[in-house]
């Protein structure tokens, strides 16, 4: 079955707040697609419209060829949805929760075990425990099983990794890869820029607008400026000093280094190095580097802010 998602010129406002402004997106059948953006970007609003829980103001949205407004009842059978907040029944056991969701969709756990097996084996030892008594990582796995138990064509995950530590995050992405292999279209929203690289294609979103849609490599390749990594002994002081440098275009802390772009096309590394040495910095190293998604996001979002 073709399970693509088509979004055309979608807008939604809450009173004066424009949550989505003219969003258009095509998500292909079987794709692992990332919606990358901070809180308040409009990710959850978009998901609520896709899941037929919220009506758009304008625009057309279809899933598997069915329209979200007209065909909402049918669409609900095709969808698995994991909302941002843990939404299972805390006072039911693991098994009872799974059974409940299977029953709601008029199916049985045993008929769908192949779909959830790899994830289910990890929580099965706790099947009699109340969902409310599970750890964060286990709750997440149960929620994923419940979202999959009716064999959806499309899986929508709203910030499944937010507030989750680095180890559990990487495990979660492994599970998604396994699901993708089964042919499900998966859309994941996340505020973690580094997770973009785990998706086939991503949309960068901020303030209700799509900044860019492409493969992670495609986004990085479109980064326009020359980007430099700077290392010194006192990084914070170096950042303050560089902000005063006459031809600075941007300077951001980036883990162990600073990421720098210059206003001029003909930028001389030696000049900036000398400037920093004269300011008393030691061990100054400057090298040209390839941008990462977070650099691209910051550059695009600042352009977007200037336009507003």
């Amino acid at each position: 079955m073709d399970s693509h998602i088509s979004i055309e010129n979608l807008s939604k406002s809450y009173g004066e707040v424009l949550a989505l402004q003219g969003v258009s997106l095509e998500i292909k059948s079987g794709e692992l697609f990332g919606l990358i953006g901070p809180d308040g970007a409009g990710k959850t609003t978009l998901f609520r419209i896709l899941t037929t829980l919220l009506l758009p103001n304008t625009g057309n949205v279809s899933l598997c060829g069915y329209e979200v407004v007209k065909d909402y009842k049918y669409i609900r059978n095709l969808l698995g949805y994991m909302p941002g907040r843990f939404s299972l029944y805390q006072d039911l056991s693991v098994m009872e929760n799974l059974n409940f969701f299977a029953t709601v969709f008029n199916t049985r756990i045993e008929d769908n075990m192949d779909m959830i097996h790899d994830i289910w084996v990890q929580i099965e030892p706790f099947k009699d425990r109340l969902a409310g008594k599970l750890s964060g990582g286990m709750k997440q796995k149960l929620a994923l099983c419940c979202a999959l138990i009716h064999q959806p064509k499309i899986l929508l995950l709203d910030e499944p990794t937010t507030g989750v530590d680095a180890v559990s995050r990487s495990e979660f992405w492994q599970m998604l890869k396994g699901l993708k292999a089964k042919g499900i279209t998966i859309v994941v929203a996340t505020p973690y820029m580094d997770e973009a690289n785990l998706c086939e294609r991503v949309a960068l979103i901020q303030d209700g607008k799509i900044l860019q849609v492409d493969t992670p490599a495609g986004i990085v390749n479109q980064y326009e400026k020359d980007l430099y990594a700077i290392h010194t002994s006192d990084m914070y002081q170096a950042m303050l000093d560089i902000r005063e440098y006459p031809s600075v275009h941007s300077v951001f802390a980036f883990g162990q280094v600073l990421h720098y772009t210059d206003k001029r096309d003909a930028f001389e590394v030696a000049e900036l190095k000398e400037y920093l040495v004269n300011k008393g910095h030691e061990g100054v190293k400057i090298e040209k580097i390839q941008a990462v998604i977070e650099d691209c996001f910051m550059a695009l979002s600042q352009e977007n802010k200037l336009e507003q």
Binding site: G137, P191, M193, F252, G255
Partner: protein, 248 residues
Amino acid sequence: MKDEKQVIRVRNLFKKFGDFTANHDLSFDVYKGEIFGFLGANGAGKTTAIKILSGLSYPTSGEIEVAGFDVYKQRELLKRNIGYMSQKFSLYEDLTVYENIRFYGGIYGLSRKEIKMKADELLTTLNLEHVRNKRIGELPLGWKQKLAFSVAILHNPDIVFLDEPTGGVDPVTRRQFWDLIYEASRKGITVFVTTHYMDEAEYCDRVSIMVDGKIEALDTPSELKKQFEAKDMDAVFLRLARNSSYQE
């Protein structure tokens, strides 16, 4: 080390819930003006420890002093000399910016005159004078977080606890938030911070990593990277946290 003066002194801290040991024999010091990163996987025991250090929960055993006060006997004094901010709990959404400042100033015992002065200063520094009378709920998350931090240090505490302060914030605002952290540290305020962003671990003066209730590593980011032969803090963290035996 920025300053040898201890602001937090922990010796053999244990916290047990029934037969579960959430904090197992923690001993460490945090110094004046230091940015101390307190890392660990979910369930490693970070929140338990922060609750004890901020006077909200008693340890099972151990000697702990925060801002020079004993966590068993001087909890009220301790609370007056610390600040606290988390992603989940910061400001009151249905009060205005100024009302929030006035409320927290009052809680921390500042006089009306001081509150007014501090409020003006804070709003000018953050460039938020124009939203003074807006409800917090109407502001973007990034502004809220910056305000929440500034309010948490309104009373000039010795130490401020930040529990995942930058979760969900956009990458530019996240960096602006760290500017505030550096500024506070330069003023001599100790910053005790938890985060899931490993690039932020690099910005700390020292970092501790908790696994299964114990501190498994504590040093400067550069020493930790050497010690674990890792290219960045993400690799250090994954190496330690993957060894966890944590099972429900």
